[in-house]
Symmetry: C2
Subunit: 195 residues, 2 copies
Amino acid sequence: MAEPALDGLIEALRRLPGVGQKSAQRMAFHLLQHDRDGAARIAASLQKAVADVRHCDRCHTFTEGAICSTCSDERRDARLLCVVETPADQAALERTGSYKGLYFVLMGRLSPLDGVGARDIGLAQLIERATDGTVEEVIVATNFTAEGEATAHVIGETLKSRGLRVTRLARGVPIGSELEYVDLGTIAHALSERR
Amino acid sequence: MAEPALDGLIEALRRLPGVGQKSAQRMAFHLLQHDRDGAARIAASLQKAVADVRHCDRCHTFTEGAICSTCSDERRDARLLCVVETPADQAALERTGSYKGLYFVLMGRLSPLDGVGARDIGLAQLIERATDGTVEEVIVATNFTAEGEATAHVIGETLKSRGLRVTRLARGVPIGSELEYVDLGTIAHALSERR
C-alpha cells in the first residue's frame, strides 16, 4: 500500500513509549474508522502541551507558569523537601494526604548505562534548592529499584556533605501483605529496621 | 495539580485503544520530557491523516484518492474478490504473495451486541461490488472467531442467493504446530476437511 498519510501516522504513533508496529496500526485504524474527533483532539492537545508545558523553576515538575501550583502554595511546609523521580511518584505521595512539605522532581533517575547523569536529573539545581536556608530535611523518595537506590545514595552523600538532614522512605512489609509472599530482602530490611 | 494542558493531553491520549490512565500519563510524560519533536510529529500526522484519508470507492479500505492502489492495479485478477475484516487482514494476505485478486474490506465485522449491523460493514456495497459482472468467485476471509464466522455466514448466504461462487479460507492445523497442542475444534475440522 502506498498511502503516505496513513503510513506516516503509523510511523509517528510508534514514537509513543510501549507502542510497536501492530499497536500503532491498530491505533491508526481505530482513530480513522471510529474516532476522528478523538484524533483531532489528541493532535490539538499535543500541540497545546508542547507549546505551554515547561518545567517549574523551583521543583522541575511540569507546569504551565514559572512556578507550579504546589511550590506556590504557601500553606506547604517549606522546611521539608521530598525528592521524587517523576510527577507520577509525586502524585502518589500527594494521594496519601500525609505529606505537607514541598517537592523536587528529578524527572528521571541516574542511569549511566542509558547515559543519564547528574546533569540530566538536575543535581546542581537540587543542591541549590535544598540549600536555600529554609529547607531543614530532605526526604529522598526515589524508587526502591537499583537505579533509584543509586540515585538516592548520590543525592544523600551530596546533601549530607552540605550539612543537611537527609532521610529515606522506610523500607518494610507492605500493608495487607502476608509474610509468606514477601521477598526476602524486604523481610530482612523490615527486621533490621524494626521499631 | 491544576495543569490544564498536561491534564488535557493525558485525557486525550486515553482515547487511543488499549490506553488507560497510567499509560496515558506515561506517554504524556515521555513525550514532554524526552521527545517533543515526536509529539509535534504525531500531532501533524494525525491532522494530515484526518484530513486526507478516506475510504476507497471500490473496496472501502483506507486511501487518499478515490480508488486505492490495489483496486487501480490492472495486473490484478478482477474475477477474484476476497472479503476481509480490516486493512491489517488484507496486509497479512498480501504478505503471502499468493493472492492476485482484488479485495473488499468490511472495516469491521457483524457484532449485534456492539450495535454493528449490515449497514456498518457495507453489505449493500459488497453486493453491488460482487455483482459487477466481472467477479466470479468471492473468497470470504473474515476471522475464524465467533463474530467473523457469523459475518462469513451472512455474506455467504447473501451472495450465493445472487448466483455467485462463494468460498471460505480453509480451516486446519497451522504449519509448524504439533497436534498435541492444537485445539480440538481445529483438529476436528482438519479431519473432516482432509484432502
